[in-house]
Amino acid sequence: MLQQVLALIIIAFFLARLFWQKQKKQINANEFIFWLIFWLLAAAAIITLKWIDKIVDKLGFSGSGIDILLYVAIIILFYLIFRLRLRLVKIEKDITKIVRSIAIKK
């Protein structure tokens, strides 16, 4: 129970930061909505942890709900890294385009 409360406090802190960044216009709308949903889902998962335990058990996993959440978190992390890499490739290509156009114009 205490752990859940601690987790919720941490999430509340990140949510507060998120709103604060939004107010200062440091992040755009898409990014804001993505993280808002992300943290709200995380909070929902923690509140309904007992319920998730039951579902996970019924699905036949040996671990408890929190284990499964950890697995899901790692999968999401890998996906985000992949997206980041794609974005980097695109940025690299754009830089090359700029450098090329400067080289040819001179």
Binding site: R85, L86, V89, E92, K93, I95, T96, V99, R100, I102, A103, I104, K106
Partner: protein, 220 residues
């Protein structure tokens, strides 16, 4: 047909003047693409009174070749030659490489180190790196030539228009082979000599090429 020789150069102050002097009389226009060198490459090339395109930051050999191609096509090139700035290719072999283009038998010619002419290729390269490069080409792009990583090549105007070099790094060698097959260009290989002053692409570089090729296949 106007012949353009594109020479990407990155920190090649030791060899650039000599390479320019040897190649200049053999082609209509020589284009050095200085890829953000931090030595005197740019100044030396400039003093030779030739066309020099300057990448303000280093973008890789593939990116430099693509810049050269774009310039050459915009300036009426009939034949485009890709040559190295480190002095490992022989300028007198340019005529052999472009001969199949002049006679209209090919759209793209690759110089090959494995068609009879003698090169002093380091053993590790010959028996380990090159076979691995063949394997990577076959698996990732589905095609390979007698020389899997040749940097000495020539293209007709039509050929050059169809090849879009997207690989900024060293993976352009495989990429060009792939696109040549994909666009059904008429491909010829010509024996060339390579004089090794340094080892060139090491195993680590080779692995980076493989990574780039796989990433490109995933994205495109």
């Amino acid at each position: 047909m106007k012949t353009f020789c594109i020479i990407p150069a990155y920190n090649e102050e030791k060899n650039i003047s000599q390479v320019i002097a040897k190649v200049k009389p053999l082609v209509d226009e020589i284009v050095i693409v200085d890829d953000g060198s931090i030595d005197k490459t740019y100044e030396l090339a400039k003093s030779a009174g030739i066309t020099i395109l300057h990448h303000i930051i280093n973008r890789g050999q593939g990116a430099a070749l693509a810049t050269g191609n774009q310039y050459a096509l915009a300036n009426g090139a009939g034949i485009i030659i890709h040559f190295d700035a480190d002095g490992q290719f022989l300028a007198e072999e340019i005529k052999d490489v472009i001969a199949p283009l002049r006679s209209g038998q090919a759209d793209i010619v690759f110089g090959s180190r494995f068609l009879g002419k003698k090169s002093n290729m380091p053993r590790f390269k010959k028996y380990v790196i090159i076979p691995l490069a063949h394997l990577a080409n076959r698996i990732i792009i589905g095609k390979t030539l007698t020389d899997p990583q040749s940097g000495f090549r020539a293209l007709t105007r039509t050929g050059a228009k169809k090849i879009k070099i997207e690989q900024d790094g060293m993976a352009h060698n495989s990429e060009i082979i792939f696109q040549a097959f994909n666009n059904k260009l008429r491909i010829t290989e010509v024996p060339i000599t390579v004089i090794y002053h340094n080892f060139g692409q090491r195993l680590g570089g080779g692995l980076k090429i493989i990574k780039d090729l796989i990433l490109a296949r995933l994205i495109n």
